[in-house]
Assembly symmetry: C2
């Protein structure tokens, strides 16, 4: 009861200085508690004098709440995830939570270790963009132990928790229809690893649009690969070197599209004229590269914000079944598939407009 000799200053020291009990000080610290104004003031003063600092680790031990959240993504250096992180962090910070940043580098084992650490640190919840080859049980474990998980951008099969993502299939279909409307018949779909949900969904949309137009699906045009620039280059060279080369490519995301764009140029293709490329995400680079990239604009920051809000709702006791939240997105036409020549010029219509679904 009279520990003011040692290290940090705690409730006991404040209590001593204010001439009250630690319980009173604790109460005085919370907003809506029945403590007389005068004691409250005395406590406030004592806190200033002693230089007291609230100790959340101790509080957590007692209450089980840490006011921390894990943000486990695959690659913070990807501008898409950086924006997502910014959105999530902002919301969480506003509500008094701190955010642990973890990079899985898309490695399942690493992610498993990190989920573990998150548990040891007692996070209240987790925002997860699952890595390739995610082991279901590693994340189910959290959920079973009362740690809500919200999946962002991607999701793993068989896991019952909230998801926040764009409507990948519809968007890919829209992009594909756009290419078809421009006259393309041989359209490649480049990259992404086979297992990941975002690729599966985008591929499904692509396939659907193809089928609608009566175009046969050719597996040679849909090679898979890691979501990197380099892989985008390689895959483009691969399909262009095939027996019947495509005239257009829809890419798993912008990073790959940018790689593909570079490779196309190196092959002597004039992107936007000889060859069309469409990406996903609309990262900053997409608007400024040459030619600027037609891409599906996804507001990563608002995905981050929304995911954080859903997580907070769960933390505040919202129950209900797992929800799936779709963040609106849309195709933005730029130079890389030539469509810019049609839309900006009124009355130049030499093409079917390609109805939006």
């Amino acid at each position: 009861m009279k520990r003011s000799s040692k290290n940090s200053v705690g409730l006991a020291d404040v209590a001593l200085a204010a001439g009250v009990s630690t319980a009173t000080v604790s109460l005085a610290l919370q907003e809506g508690s029945r403590i007389s104004a005068s004691t409250r003031e005395r406590v406030r003063l004592a806190i200033e004098q002693t230089g007291y600092r609230y100790n959340r680790a101790a509080a957590k031990l007692r209450t089980g709440q840490s006011f921390t959240v894990g943000l486990l993504i695959t690659d913070i250096a990807n501008p898409y995830f950086a924006a997502l992180a910014a959105g999530a962090e902002t919301v969480l910070d506003e509500r008094g939570y701190m955010t642990f940043l973890l990079n899985s580098n898309d490695i399942g084992d690493r992610q498993a270790r990190q989920l573990n650490k998150l548990m040891e640190h007692g996070v209240d919840g987790v925002l997860l963009s699952p890595a390739d080859g995610t082991d279901l049980t590693t994340v189910q474990y959290l959920v079973d132990h009362g740690v809500p998980v919200v999946q962002v951008s991607r999701w793993v099969e068989g896991l019952s928790c909230d998801v926040v993502q764009p409507d990948n299939a519809a968007l890919a279909a829209e992009a594909t229809r756009h290419l078809i409307a421009l006259g393309h018949r041989r359209i490649a779909f480049l990259g992404g690893t086979p297992s990941r949900s975002a690729r599966v969904e985008r591929l499904a949309g692509y396939t659907r649009a193809l089928a609608e137009a009566g175009i046969a699906y050719d597996p040679e045009l849909t090679p898979t690969g890691p979501p990197t620039r380099a892989s985008g280059s390689i895959l483009l060279r691969h399909v262009v070197g095939g027996t019947i080369p495509p005239t257009a490519a829809l890419c798993y995301h912008d990073l790959m599209a940018l790689g593909a764009l570079q490779a196309a140029r190196e092959l002597g293709l004039r992107v936007g004229e000889d060859f069309a490329i469409i990406g996903f995400d609309d990262i900053a680079e997409a608007a400024i590269c040459d030619p600027p990239l037609t891409t599906v604009h996804i507001d990563a920051e608002s995905i981050g914000r929304s995911a954080a809000q859903h997580l907070l709702a769960r933390l505040e006791g919202s129950v209900g079944p797992a929800s799936r939240t779709i963040i609106p997105a849309h195709l933005v036409m730029r130079g890389s598939c030539g469509s810019h020549r049609f839309s900006p010029l009124p009355g130049a219509g030499s093409d079917t407009p390609g109805k939006r679904q």
Copy 2:
């Protein structure tokens, strides 16, 4: 001593299951402790059976160590800081630490609140890229209370703690000399807020190079502004609209340079021919914009890694005075200041080659 009824499973439960004391279990958990192999095995088994999970909050309460670190930067959406964060997180994760991500948005007050929260959560150390208008005392407080701080990319006057950064002055001087060698005499220095160390240092290098060449310093050519694309555009328009417009601009960083580049094009200037632009950072966009941006390549990821290593050293007890670590960087010539026309084409030399310092 026999709490296995309640919530989470703790050492006591494991001890019960293994038929030993909690102390023994605790000891068995640490590597180099004198515990018989047999008990160790029994404990291992009991841990599996019980589904025990280490509780770091409890450990922290006892030991004072949390194995967490704060990474407090101005803007995670800036690719430079995203790369820095990736580097830091990787090193920290390897060594068993978790990283809190905080975005100050370059707002001093926000940063102050966040430093506070960091203390409440009991972080072991902080990686800080100080916001504009940082109040010295808010960060000094941490240091005084035994929480080591390492400053990254920028630093605040009067704070005695490690700094990891590029040699801004030398690099800015090199870039400026390059422009001078290309024949430019009216060179602007665009943006950055006046108080921030990175700007002060870069401006000093710019001024020094000017002086060396006998070029008078003109304050009209060095307007300040927030470090954003938009501000880059505005400032370029501003100086170009001045009485004696510049023929070249060195920009506070790439984001601003990109904005300036766009504005220059909108003004009908052919960047790389009529007008030269140089940036700082070498973010991915710099290589791919049109024309590609000549810029100072700074390896943000290795700044992040190095800063994390310095922090870890402090956490492990390294004392010594505050250190300043310079991360090597260099000018990379691309299209935005015309120099590319000379170097790649052998024997095309219609210009002075522009000696590197």
